[in-house]
């Protein structure tokens, strides 16, 4: 039986798709057969980040509508063994998602995969609700700023009241992932610290991903950040996956970098 994990946040632009791509890649690299589903119907992005946009023939909605089989729609990643992508439809909207349809697809995937990663759209409307509906666990992606934290809090409330698990009296296991963390700005008091965010959301911390130019470069290249060599954000994602799989690892990249020579010279 597969474990179903939703990557969600409430707010847009915080790094859900980046996190979904790297998390799914990391699970597959660790030898687990993983599929990542783009629930953002109408605003499909995951295929771009995963670099498979030129190989999408059928999508998630086609499968739900019975126009294609899962086998036809699943895109096998060329770089990582055990990794599959189910793209969203760009030409439809979220009304094309139905609870019964999603249930059927997830059920079918559960027979074949160890992990099903659901990349949620922003907001708390239908697409987001269905992405989280069948989840066993949730990665709550949050930026260290108040509006993102507030929206994540709202999403946590929905996870604990509206999901299938919540309705059957069980709970969805929640993990906090802080992205775009800039320790220098935290030190200057311009951003919330890890402790502040943990204090407000009161859920266990799974990973802190430092703000990095490499994330944008990776999306442009169509390669998940976690695959880049010698990159802090990639290291942080690797740590995050290892922790998810039960390994104990200390959190890194939480301290301000020592100032460079020019900065010191000009007091930057």
């Amino acid at each position: 039986m597969a474990k179903i994990i939703v990557v969600t946040s409430g707010k847009g632009g915080v790094g859900k798709t980046t996190t979904s791509a790297s998390f799914a890649t990391g699970l597959a690299q660790a030898g687990h057969k993983t599929v990542v589903i783009d629930f953002d119907v109408g605003l499909r992005n995951l295929d771009l980040i995963m670099g498979v946009e030129r190989r999408v023939v059928f999508d998630f909605i086609n499968v739900i509508a019975g126009e294609a089989t899962l086998k036809q729609a699943l895109i096998k990643d060329k770089r990582v063994e055990n990794l599959y992508i189910l793209a969203a439809s760009q030409t439809r909207d979220k009304d094309a998602l139905t609870e019964a349809g999603v249930a059927r697809v997830i059920d079918e995937l559960s027979k074949d995969f160890e992990y099903i990663v659901c990349d949620s759209p922003a907001g708390i409307e239908k697409g987001a609700l269905l992405a989280m509906h069948f989840a066993d666990e949730a990665l709550i992606v949050t930026n260290p700023e108040v509006s993102s934290v507030r929206d994540s809090d709202r999403v946590l409330g929905i996870l604990s009241s509206k999901t299938a698990r919540a309705k059957s009296g069980e709970s969805v296991r929640e993990h906090l992932v802080i992205t775009r963390y800039d320790a220098n700005r935290v030190a200057r008091g311009e951003m919330l610290s890890v402790e502040d965010v943990k204090d407000i959301l009161a859920i266990p911390l799974l990973g802190v991903i430092p703000e990095s130019k490499d994330v944008l470069n990776a999306s442009n290249q169509g390669s998940p950040v976690i695959s880049l060599p010698d990159v802090q954000a990639a290291e942080a994602y690797k740590d995050m996956v290892a922790r998810f799989l039960g390994e104990e690892r200390a959190h890194r990249f939480l301290d301000p970098s020592s100032k460079g020579f020019l900065n010191r010279l000009f007091g930057g």
Partner: protein
């Protein structure tokens, strides 16, 4: 011999009383709509006893409007003969005046049900209401969340959202929290918003209560 499948028992229960102050059916129904609109969640599914207060209104219509607003009228009290007959005909019970031993809508303190105890964080956008009793929360109350109780509210954690105690007018209700960071606190309709909460009380263990009709905050 088999046991009876049903048993009749006499029990004393507290019931919300809807007291009419007018004989004008339209004014009464409009009044119900206004009151319910103020806090629809509070009233949803609430059984009520309609105290006619000797007013000869169109009781069938009043009951219909009350039902449409989510209330559940169960009986009338203090009705004249004609109104009592109409009430019976429309499926409501008719109680003798002596059945009504309290003039307020609040349950008496010795009749309060056990406190509602919550161990999960109350998240932004969630609303929790302890009807007829105290609310005890053993977790944080987030900004954007709302907690309400007819009695007192106790938060063993930071209170960052809105807290309204004594929702049905109990002026002895209080709010306790381990760290006062609230957006709004209210007791029996008297409220303070975040801006009005003095900095010496912010982020500290506090108690909020009414002292001579003024909402006051004390550090614990």
């Amino acid at each position: 011999m088999s046991q009876n499948d049903v048993i009749f028992k006499g029990r004393v229960m507290s019931l919300t009383v809807l007291r009419l102050n007018s004989s004008d059916t339209e004014r009464v129904t409009a009044g119900i709509e206004t009151e319910v609109a103020r806090a629809p969640k509070l009233f949803n599914g609430l059984p009520v006893l309609i105290d006619l207060n000797r007013h000869a209104v169109d009781i069938a219509r009043v009951a219909d409007i009350a039902r449409a607003q989510g209330l559940m009228p169960v009986a009338v009290v203090d009705a004249d003969e004609a109104t009592a007959a109409t009430a019976r005909a429309s499926g409501l019970g008719v109680l003798q005046q002596g059945a009504l031993d309290t003039q307020t809508a609040r349950p008496r303190s010795d009749e309060r049900p056990a406190a509602r105890i919550v161990d999960q964080p109350v998240r932004s956008g969630q609303q929790l209401y302890a009807r007829g009793t105290d609310l005890v929360i053993h977790a944080p109350v987030s900004a954007g969340a709302e907690v309400l109780a007819d009695g007192s509210i106790h938060v063993y954690g930071p209170l960052r959202g809105r807290a309204l105690a004594g929702c049905r007018g109990d002026e002895s209700a209080r709010i306790f929290c381990q760290s006062l960071e609230a957006e709004l606190v209210a007791v029996a309709g008297n409220y303070l918003v975040a801006e009005d909460i003095a900095s010496e009380h912010r982020d500290r263990p506090s108690m909020v209560r009414l002292v001579e009709d003024t909402l006051t905050i004390e550090n614990l």
